[in-house]
Symmetry: C2
Subunit: 420 residues, 2 copies
Amino acid sequence: MLLIRNAELDGRKVDLKIEHGRFAAVEPAGIHREWRAAREIDASGKAVTPAFYNTHTHAAMTLMRGYADDLELMDWLSNHIWPLEAKLTEEDVYLGTRLAILEMIRSGTVFFDDMYWFQRGTLRAVREMGVRACLGLLFIEGEDGKVLERNLRSNAEVLEAVGQDPLVSIALAPHAIYTVSETTLRLVREESEKNGSRVHIHLAETRAEAEECRRKHRCSPVAYLDKLGLVNEKLIAAHCVALDDDDLALMSRKRAVLAHMPCSNLKLGSGMFRFHDALRAGCRVTVGTDGASSNNNLSMLDEMKFAALVGKHRCGSVTGVTAKEVFHAATAAGAEAFGIAAGRIAVGMEADCILWDLHHPALLGFDLISNLVYAADPSVVDTVVCAGRVLMENHRVPGEAEIVAAARERIERLQQLIGE
Amino acid sequence: MLLIRNAELDGRKVDLKIEHGRFAAVEPAGIHREWRAAREIDASGKAVTPAFYNTHTHAAMTLMRGYADDLELMDWLSNHIWPLEAKLTEEDVYLGTRLAILEMIRSGTVFFDDMYWFQRGTLRAVREMGVRACLGLLFIEGEDGKVLERNLRSNAEVLEAVGQDPLVSIALAPHAIYTVSETTLRLVREESEKNGSRVHIHLAETRAEAEECRRKHRCSPVAYLDKLGLVNEKLIAAHCVALDDDDLALMSRKRAVLAHMPCSNLKLGSGMFRFHDALRAGCRVTVGTDGASSNNNLSMLDEMKFAALVGKHRCGSVTGVTAKEVFHAATAAGAEAFGIAAGRIAVGMEADCILWDLHHPALLGFDLISNLVYAADPSVVDTVVCAGRVLMENHRVPGEAEIVAAARERIERLQQLIGE
């Protein structure tokens, strides 16, 4: 059991009782002095809000942060990222993911939806650090039209390792419609129907992808996936930059989830997501960070500011995307997309939350949500709780120094391998 | 005298000797063990770079952070910001500016170019906190076509108070071409010619301003100012969103300074600055944050990330604006614009610098400048030195708690005054 006392929640002071990973009571502060718990946090001067749910990333790519930035996409991928990735080991993925999770916890994120390989390494890091995750079974096809051997091996390994875990789910993750054939996508659909798995895919990330799809399949990427039966409430579609009105309407009608990554979309030159239009169409819009190579951090705070400001520009109206809409997308909508009963601080909900330091200069001002979206940086996050477990308290994550040192040593090894 | 030992500078380890506010020696680490100083900082595990120069802000507006966000510009100004500003006192400006400077120091900024009134309050905060500043003598005309009485009074007060100060300069700050008449602008030019003052103005901030100028004066805002003799190396032109190629060429030829505020431009719906084109035209591009009401923080780190990512989008090329170009604009170019001999860590330069915590997760990776622009947040800033004086060490600014408490109390007073 965990008690959080004197936290500000929507302008009132509350005490929170957390049992079995859920909020068991949310009461006005001070009226239950008899409550006792093994751990008690005094949240005086702190506000409590839901935590962040990062709906698309490649966590282990923290090891490649800042590598070969500011290059054209294909130059960056073919001449730098892919050759480096070919040298990664499961241990690298474990250590890079630990660093990623450390960074995520420090910025208030308790869940991430991951797409990478050596997922057993990812799983190990997730379990050690106590966050939630959805791990994708990755499918990319080689030039022979077959799913890569290393995908199949890594997928089998993580499936064997994961078993039943209340904090970890497994998705099917075909990389994209241009790297996976129709045959494989149909198999993915069958598998998803059989066991109810989510399907996580890069979709309509660039105009080039949409144009190629129209040439090849005579329809948009969304319509193509729909023909294959994959546009439904289990779909997590990352990027969704090149969507037309019909695509938005279809995604809305079928209750598919859109994962929005404004920083990555700008950094890689993919364009601007139609946030305002997607909300108006009734879409389930969530927020992700993408990997650290194309962002270059994993802070949902950065992502929210970009989502709001770029969203306003994209729709041509400063009222078109608001701080509250973005905050909802980054919190409650993300949780909902993955079936996690969280996103509100209320009895019965999963006990995921952030305590924010109200004495931080960036949080002085008129409106908490506005300040979190437009002004906050990770140093404003004081304490992070996931499923009732305290992952960070007073800005400290246990084991931080060792995690950083081990990742630093790995990065130096990679630099030597590629002769940088 | 101040010694900084074992700092990483462009990949080498150096010891820095600082005397009389300047770098007196920059030597390989460890070879001058005989150096002695009253204060010595061990910068092991830290990188040293130039500090940030914020070339356009309204510092005291930290008191209005998050007030009435996500509204249309004129609704926001007329119904919220202006009525609130009418209630401000010199003490408010002093306390709000202290909070602003605290936030700036924490994010590595040692100089700001300010435009506001009650500048004596600003000056008091600047001197107490030890940063550099350029304070504008503000000119806004009322409906009677005369410069506001409160401007004239505040301007006279700060002029009397400032005297000779090596860290503080005074600029002439006509608010904008639509709030100040040609007559006043001509007087500003005469005054600038007489005493060499810089001229700080909002210029071509929106398309509406440019269109109105064309209707009224048959030319662009830049061409209009040029006719009045104000486009020269003393001009600090804030925003510059609505510039055409001729404007860029003129600004370049006359060596005028452009202050770029990407967050504010997006948040207020002003549009996107042509960063790539401005650099290609040879313009002196610098970076500012604008006030906290339209940003909503004063972090040059946020501003750099937006400048780079939005700059890429604006020019349609991911290589069109690079991390190194943005970092230069936010550091050396800003210093140069205000005649401050800084922006490089080298003997004879003003001793302004930042020590960055290389053990922070966001700085692990391949390229320091890339990580500072794309991945860093203020928690990465460890130590800040301005004119040889240590303003922050180990993430701590002296007097922080009192500054925050006093500002918080003022914000609550303002909230009561407006009945929020």
